[in-house]
């Protein structure tokens, strides 16, 4: 079985979010970059578990990014991918990125394409569905469990207020979230091995962009907290009812 795992580079979850160039660019000064947590903790680790259960499984990683993505790709290889492909482009339009991934996926005839449910920077939840449509494959989003029986996948996905269990045949595109797998840390053998694993850099295929980022805004600052004494919590209830009018 061949699995393609999509890997995005995102700022660390603790990164301070500020912008430059008249609020048109993310300020990356001093920002640590990581593998998008949904891509790493859930989709990549679940792919590795599938490989551990069936040693013939091949895992390819794909990233659309510039050379500064290479450290996070090496880390993903250290966790357990077999080889990686980086499409050399800094374009951040979802359709453009999905077009690049779909082109590679089509060529590689993968049985499974895994993405995270979203990236923690642009939060667009778009790549998996777009790739599926470009490949004319079924897509199951928000997966929290994934099991395989031959070529039939059973996927539990989150829905509003509960869970839904789906069945579909491979090939399939799945977007992954918490529950799929547990976070892992690369071991020394993995880190050493990752250095010699293939990381192929290819130039992008021609594709359109559907959107551009005009500018960024930061949310307005809070006016400040109104503290109520712990001896009189009833006052908090009164304020919420009469002043904030929230219940």
């Amino acid at each position: 079985m061949k699995i393609l795992v999509c890997i995005s580079k995102t700022p660390d979850t603790t990164a301070k979010i500020t912008f430059t160039d008249n609020n048109t660019k993310f300020d990356s000064a001093g920002v640590q970059y990581i593998i998008n947590p949904y891509d790493e903790w859930y989709s990549l680790v679940r792919a590795i578990e599938l490989k551990e259960a069936d040693a013939t499984t091949i895992i390819h990683l794909i990233n659309v990014g510039a050379a500064d993505s290479d450290p996070i790709i090496r880390k993903a290889l250290a966790l357990g991918g077999d080889e990686a492909i980086r499409i050399n482009s800094e374009n951040n339009d979802s359709f453009y990125i999905a077009s690049q991934i779909a082109a590679i996926a089509k060529e590689g005839a993968y049985d499974l394409v895994f993405t995270g449910k979203e990236t923690i920077d642009y939060n667009s939840s778009s790549i998996g569905g777009m790739v599926a449509e470009l490949l004319d494959l079924p897509f199951i989003s928000h997966a929290i469990k994934f099991t395989l029986d031959g070529s039939t996948a059973t996927v539990v996905r989150e829905i509003e207020g509960g869970e839904e269990t789906d069945k579909a045949s491979l090939p399939l595109v799945v977007s992954c979230q918490k529950g799929m797998a547990e976070q892992r840390i690369p071991n020394m053998k993995g880190i050493m091995g990752a250095r010699t694993k293939p990381l192929k850099v290819v130039e992008p295929t021609a594709a359109e962009s559907y959107t551009t980022i005009a500018s960024f805004d930061l949310p307005p600052a809070k006016a400040g907290v109104k503290l109520v004494s712990a001896d009189n919590p009833e006052e908090l209830v009164r304020l919420l009812h009469e002043e904030a009018k929230v219940f």
Partner: protein
């Protein structure tokens, strides 16, 4: 024409769909156009009443096979209804997130998912969306002829206008689903977290799952959903689907009550769009107080029973 996808579950239109319908009507107003809707599958609700949210026409495919959700089948049908649409609106929930990207490809329409406001059209078609998990907004300009917007739940105030929509059956062939829904397991009697107006949330300060009664009691009194911080979900005190924050669910209720949560930056990212934030924590240095509107510096075990009693009296 602006087309809105009406999402249903268990034979009922989802609350977030009314919000999306109202938003679509407002977008139509900006464009000097009309708002229509598409509803797939069978529902017990009165579909024509979508007119009350500004919808003039509802396209339906009332076929039971569509109660089985397959984004691929849905996207194809919505494409047919969207032939004359300038903008297609979804709620940015698990259904919308599964269909909208597919539709974006089919219609060659740029998608803004996680929209937080109405579009502006004076300098290109631009929509404000949440980015960096709620820590910032991006203004996204869509450069394609057709546009798709997936609206964040609880981001737009529903306006009722009165009126009845015309209901028309969309004549379309339905593909065989490649995804079979085997079972659906809904947490009965509880408010879905993403749609809740009020959310009561607990953190490690509650010391153990056996103390969650104070969270659920207050939630029941307020008709609220319950949530938790990441550590609490990680150590399995509470189910994963309750985890709000950067790597969990991002929510924007009218009222968010955080009990025993310090307010790490990752947690704040998921809840800082809440309209009113209340923090109860015994540590006066807890960072959450800086993001809060109201707060009590005190021991939850002493404060919460009094709050619950006061709410009980108020609701009686």
């Amino acid at each position: 024409m602006v087309l809105v996808f009406i999402d249903q579950q268990d034979g009922h239109i989802k609350k977030t769909s009314f919000e999306a319908a109202s938003y679509a009507a407002a977008v139509a107003n900006i464009l000097g156009s009309t708002a229509e809707a598409i509803l797939l599958g069978t529902v017990g609700d009165d579909v024509a009443s979508l007119g009350n949210y500004g919808i003039t026409k509802v396209h339906t495919v009332a076929n039971e096979s569509l109660n089985n959700f397959d984004a691929q089948v849905y996207a194809k049908l919505i494409t047919l209804a969207a032939q004359n649409a300038d903008v297609v609106v979804f709620s940015n929930n698990t259904t919308g997130k599964a269909i909208a990207p597919r539709l974006s490809v089919r219609l060659k329409a740029g998608l803004v998912s996680g929209a937080a406001a109405l579009p502006t059209i004076d300098n290109g078609f631009t929509v404000k969306k949440t980015v960096f998990s709620g820590k910032a907004f991006a203004n996204i300009t869509v450069t394609t002829a057709k546009k798709i917007i997936a609206l964040n739940p609880n981001s737009f105030t529903v306006k009722t206008t009165g009126g009845t929509a015309e209901v028309v059956a969309l004549d379309a062939a339905i593909d065989t689903a490649k995804v079979q829904v085997v079972s659906t397991d809904l947490v009965k009697g509880e408010v879905p977290l993403g749609e809740a107006d009020i959310v009561v949330s607990g953190g490690r300060g509650l010391k153990g799952p056996e103390n969650w009664g104070m969270i659920t009691d207050l939630a029941h009194l307020l008709g609220a959903a319950t949530a938790c911080s990441r550590p609490v979900a990680d150590i399995h005190w509470r189910p994963h689907h309750e985890h709000v924050g950067q790597t969990g669910l991002a929510i924007a209720p009218n009222l968010y009550i955080a009990v025993g949560i310090s307010g790490a930056i990752q947690h704040l990212a998921g809840v800082n769009r809440s309209k009113t934030i209340v923090v109860i924590n015994k540590d006066p240095e807890a960072p959450f107080f800086k993001a809060a509107d109201y707060g009590i510096v005190g021991d939850a075990f002493e404060v919460m029973p009094k709050i619950i009693e006061a709410v009980r009296k108020l609701k009686a």
